[in-house]
Point group: C2
Chain length 461, copies 2
């Protein structure tokens, strides 16, 4: 990468959205460069090497059947998928004991389950009234944006057990406690995925399948195709912008371009200096859409021993620190891997502990669920995304109350020659890899159109 | 200012808190430098020149009788105070008509007023249960941090009129709609000021008096005393920190020091690059404590003509865009000045308009309140703090729901050799100039103590 570069479009961030945006710009015949702060591509999508050509993901990893753009990208890149391991019985640790169950409905208090069912139906019906491209135009947007999801549940879910199980579900999807997030945001997000079940389910939902070779393979293959258009270790510090185009200053190189696509979580976009400074409404948006808190913990064993006992590896717990677990073994089941998530409140609490304390607590969770054998993995891997300088949280960003209705229109709207990408700007599958792909495609088409150019048709299909 | 400098303490930000911190470090016999991004000192405290030695403030301006550290600072610096003009009758525009009233209680629906009185008493009683140094330890902290102030009002204030008037009050104090802010934060803030009346009142409250020569005179005189220890036009981009001290890189100069005091609103502290990166819990705090939204609008006339008609210049409106107005004339009443605030929702809405549209709407408000004469000022001044690159909002920062209980402990806690100042870190008069002064004194004492040095006694008295 030369120190100075002139291209049509400068892309900031080599996560999936930035890489896809650059792909589409190049496909249109224009030139592009991707500036990435880290020494790797993928953003919140990251493989960890297990040796012998095996990997496990410590970032986003699953794909669901309605995540069409992500599936098409994988096909295009020759990355195969395989079903998330779901054979056998699931576990729930609830009120002090561990029980087995089949399917998606754990065996807890039947009244609580009935209330959860009714609540899901009600949330799905409310969610359908939230326009994906303009949540602030929902008929009851003002009302729904003025309270937390917690206070809505408190009034509308008349069972402590149902609320506790919903809280686990909320933290599993948004990685924040239900108190952190606007009711309107929860409804938007449900609609963006389709229905609440789409967000929660393994089979048929967002956790349906995985990628052979790990999800980061998508980013790695995209980057391969982009070749020397990707600059690593080049954090962008400053963007000058005006009618004539942009000058993007990164450590070690400066790029002049006609347009910039900033492909980062909204909160991170505010850590770049802009000249002229961005308008207040855009900056204040970035102050109200915080990243969630997740630590992903993976224990690796010689084999997935839980399968012998008829267990799927999928588990839920009201005790924690692991509240959600999955079998995360490679396709051939060797080695065996369990992944446990510390999410929201738990991730924050355990984020202040030492790595050793966290490891012991996580393995303690696994042992209560899967037996004492689970306490002795061959390897233990964890990744706390809040501590990552270039991400600062996971899975994605949620609007606090008041955010969507006051600042929503600034989420995607270009500012002159600056365009915004990233999973948080997606209308469909917001916050997911599929949304990231869609946002990159949308931002590239938008930037190209603003230059009087058309994206290649198949990229927009 | 040389390019390279070695001092004991590097202070980032020349608002009141940073200047006071540097004053105390120097007073202890240690060396300090203050690095300021702007070409002026004062941060959110700023005079606008009216000519003939007269000024009007476009930032923080008032002082109340219990703001002891601010009053003592003014005395020490030889800056006099004078009472906010409060003679005559106040105005309220309510449900389409403008009425006069005396004292602090506007003449609206008596039932609404009775409910407001009871609500104030109840909030004051709840607020007293919130420990100022640790709001997350309040007996009901978890409960109070899980909902917005809006949803609390909705359940507990059984009068639309009362809620509407309280909403104006909330926006006048926090510069955000009641939906944006955690109930626990509102209670903390009330306790931090004493009682809700302290926040709202002119006479005897936070708007009691003003500074002769304008509030920025405090910052200007402090900076004078600090002499060449203040570097302007030196935005800090990067802070390396470790057991050996800090290296602070600003545009044009690099400072090595034993300690750094970062004296900025929390959200702005995250826009500096730290090496090593800050821990996740500190970074995620900065994502959950957004700046409010205020545009301060001042109309200047040859004389304060409203006084002739027995009006104080103080007004409240449920129509807007000006919801709160004050007589903001210099001490001798020449020229006359009215200040109108666009706050919270109104400031955001009007922030997307043109300057011309805003001016017309603001002068329209003044004319409805003070008569047609008010529509023709000699001069019109406005300041939108959300658009200011180095502040990004006003008056201060409010925790969204969930913020205090999850991240509160990271608000003031030093990270190694990094200390935090700024009005948002104060326990008493949080968010006010008085809190800024106290936070600067606390941070300096904390930094000095960590080096085994004592602050001079009078600074801590």
């Amino acid at each position: 990468m030369p120190d100075q570069l002139d291209v049509d479009v400068a892309v900031v961030g080599a996560g999936l959205s930035g890489l896809v945006a650059a792909r589409d710009v190049l496909a249109s015949g224009s030139s592009a460069v991707v500036l990435e702060a880290r020494d790797r591509v993928g953003g919140r999508v990251l493989n960890e090497d297990l040796g012998d050509g095996k990997v496990v993901e410590v970032g986003g990893q699953w794909v669901g059947p309605t995540q069409r753009r992500l599936l098409e990208l994988a096909q295009d890149l020759g990355v195969a998928t395989f079903p998330t391991y779901s054979e056998g019985e699931n576990l729930i640790e609830w009120r002090g004991s561990v029980r087995r169950y089949r399917g998606t409905i754990p065996r807890i208090d039947p009244r609580a389950l009935a209330i959860i069912g009714a609540t899901q139906a009600r949330l799905n019906a409310m969610a359908r009234k939230v326009p994906l491209a303009a949540p602030w135009e929902a008929p009851r947007a003002a009302r729904w944006d003025r309270e937390t999801f917690w206070s809505w549940m408190r009034r509308n879910v008349p069972s402590r057990g149902a609320r506790d199980l919903l809280e686990i579900a909320i933290e599993a999807v948004w990685a924040v406690p239900s108190a952190d997030v606007s009711l309107l945001h929860v409804l938007f997000y449900i609609h963006s995925a389709g229905r609440l079940e789409q967000l929660l389910d393994a089979e048929g939902g967002a956790q349906d399948r995985r990628f052979v070779g790990g999800s980061q393979l998508l980013a790695l293959r995209l980057a391969e195709r982009l070749g020397d258009a990707v600059a690593l270790g080049a954090p962008v510090r400053r963007i000058e912008h005006g009618e004539q185009g942009v000058t993007v200053e990164a450590d070690g190189c400066t790029v002049r371009a006609r347009r910039a696509i900033v492909a980062m979580p909204p909160v991170m976009t505010a850590r770049i200096a802009y000249d002229p400074p961005l308008p207040g409404h855009r900056d204040q948006l970035t102050q109200r859409m915080a990243q969630g808190t997740v630590t992903k913990c993976v224990a690796v064993y010689d084999r997935p021993f839980w399968r012998d006992e008829g267990l799927s590896g999928q588990a839920t717990s009201d005790m924690g620190p692991v509240r959600i677990a999955f079998d995360n073994s490679p396709p051939d089941g060797s080695p065996g891997a369990l992944v446990g998530f510390l999410e929201g409140a738990g991730a924050r609490e355990w984020g202040r502990s030492t790595a050793r304390e966290r490891r012991e607590a996580v393995l303690g969770s696994f042992a209560r669920l899967f037996g004492p054998r689970a306490a002795r993995p061959d390897r233990y891997i964890e990744r706390s995304w809040a501590d990552e300088e270039w991400t600062r949280g996971c899975y994605g960003c949620s609007f606090a109350p008041g955010g969507w209705t006051a600042f929503g229109p600034s989420l995607r709207a270009p500012i002159g020659v600056l365009h915004w990408a990233g999973a948080e700007t997606a209308t469909v599958w917001n916050g997911y890899m599929d949304g990231a792909v869609r946002s990159g495609e949308r931002a590239a088409a938008e930037a190209l159109a603003s230059m009087g150019l058309a994206a290649r048709e198949e990229a927009l299909a």
